[in-house]
């Protein structure tokens, strides 16, 4: 554990996960995307993308459905190779190294049906060689705060859509990698639960900063959680506008999102989104 004992609860929880070799290797890796393009056969999904995410920075990505957000995250995480341009993560261009630095949360939860919720959440730890007992303890502590208490032993088929998504989110966090690539982590959560999770993430990032690329459909969410927000155009995805958030991860969320400047920026983002959606 790198963190000292004075940090807030969230931090501690998050931190243990943070104690991974990959993370130690590259404390908060920066991500830079240069002239990135990708096509599936004839179909150009994204084109000429340039984006910079400083180490420990949070980039929000919003854009019309089908503009290539998920594709972009897979390219960054080294799960696919771009057909043009390059991605650098923590100084590494090599896909394998990028893969080692990035934790990618897919849009569909991809929980393993034969594993209980805890074991699904603990997958990353188990892969890192942690024994089952400790790994379970590790994640079970978070089940409470994620509103999953009592479902530790449930199979994915016995969970609701939102519960599944939270398990998948948890699974990604505890991987403790320096870069988090989150694909709509809260899409199937109701307003309240969603606000809770946002708050939790904000707190956790404050205690133990990571580089985060957050794809979301909720402009407000993007602006609240991110330092900067990139608005992408319709396929092929290009950057229409990049805005910096007025009050990233402010302590009082409700106050922050109702603040006039915040609302103004949100309007601009929406307007850009409109432009991008042709």
């Amino acid at each position: 554990m790198r963190q000292d004992t004075k940090m807030p609860a969230e931090a501690k929880e998050f931190a243990t996960a943070g104690a991974s070799p990959a993370n130690a290797a590259a404390p908060g890796a920066a991500v830079s995307i240069r002239g990135l393009g990708h096509s599936y056969d004839e179909l150009a999904a994204i084109e000429g993308l340039d984006l910079e995410v400083p180490a420990r920075g949070v980039l929000g990505l919003v854009g019309p459905s089908g503009c290539g957000k998920s594709t972009l995250l897979e390219l960054v995480s080294g799960l696919q190779e771009p057909s043009a341009g390059e991605v650098e993560v923590g100084g590494a261009l090599d896909p394998a190294e990028r893969l080692a630095r990035c934790a990618f949360m897919p849009q569909r939860d991809m929980l393993l049906p034969w594993l209980a919720a805890v074991d699904n959440a603990a997958l990353a730890l188990r892969n890192r060689g942690v024994r089952r007992g400790p790994a379970r303890k590790e994640v079970e502590r978070l089940f409470e705060r994620f509103g999953l208490a009592g479902f530790e032993r449930s199979r994915p088929a016995e969970l609701s859509g939102g519960m599944r998504q939270r398990v998948a989110f948890l699974r990604t966090l505890v991987s403790g990698k320096p870069v988090l690539a989150l694909d709509e982590p809260f899409a199937s959560l109701d307003a309240i639960t969603r606000a809770e999770m946002q708050g939790w993430l904000a707190g956790a990032l404050a205690a133990d900063p990571r580089t985060v690329i957050l794809v979301t459909h909720d402009v407000e969410e993007a602006l609240y959680l991110s330092d900067r927000v990139a608005v992408l155009s319709a396929r092929p995805g290009r950057v229409v506008e990049e805005l910096s958030a007025p009050a990233p991860r402010a302590a009082d969320r409700d106050a922050a999102v109702t603040d006039p400047t915040f609302v103004a920026v949100r309007e601009r983002a929406m307007e850009a989104l409109h432009r991008g959606s042709r």
Binding site: E74, L79, L99, F104, P106, M110, L112, L123, R126
Partner: protein
Amino acid sequence: MRRWLPPALVLAALIGLWQVAASSGLLASVLGLEDFLVPSPAEIASSLWENRSLLAENAWVTLQEIVLGFLCGLAAGLGFALLLRLSGLLRRATYPLMVASQAVPILVIAPVLVVWFGYGIGPKLAVVALVCFFPIAVATADGLRSVDPETTKMMRTLDASRRQLLWRVEAPTSLPFAFSGARIAVAFAPIAAVFGEWVGADSGLGHLILQDNAQLETARVFAAATVLAVIAIALYGLLAFAERRIVTWR
């Protein structure tokens, strides 16, 4: 209980019909099956009873051949499937040989088996294992390949090694396939054991069948075949039960 009723009834009905047809000479007149070709259920039953000790002895021998041979085949099949999965080269290189191995009549290699394993249980195990190995290997290999690529991506981004991917994802995914293969294999195993015994044996149901066939002891031939069938059904049921216990997430 209710699960056993339907098969029991159907079986009873069939046997009843057969018996009636046999005793009323219908089989002979209509189907041309005289009783030294196909004995009546009653004859088979009495033969089963009269020769119970003889059948039991030989059945015990054959059962051992079946079970041990199946276990060898199972181990080999699963192991081979994993190897095939881990190396595409190996896969392409050895798959044809694997298929070819199933097309060689035992008669052809019988002397070789004797030379290598003698007249003991060896050659029988070899034959049973050879037969069981194949369906298990094929089905399991197919199962290992059937993992959703998205799931693989998920595992890779969680730093899974090849081995972890294999054990945590591919193996569980392939389990139902493996059981299909195993059930197919175990149904073929009794026949395999019979052929194994024809390589050279002085006991076992296969030996008995060949001997009795030479003596036109048809009733006892069918009695022995009945015992074989029962063994097959029992083992198949056992596997199906194990599957229900192990594959709980479907």
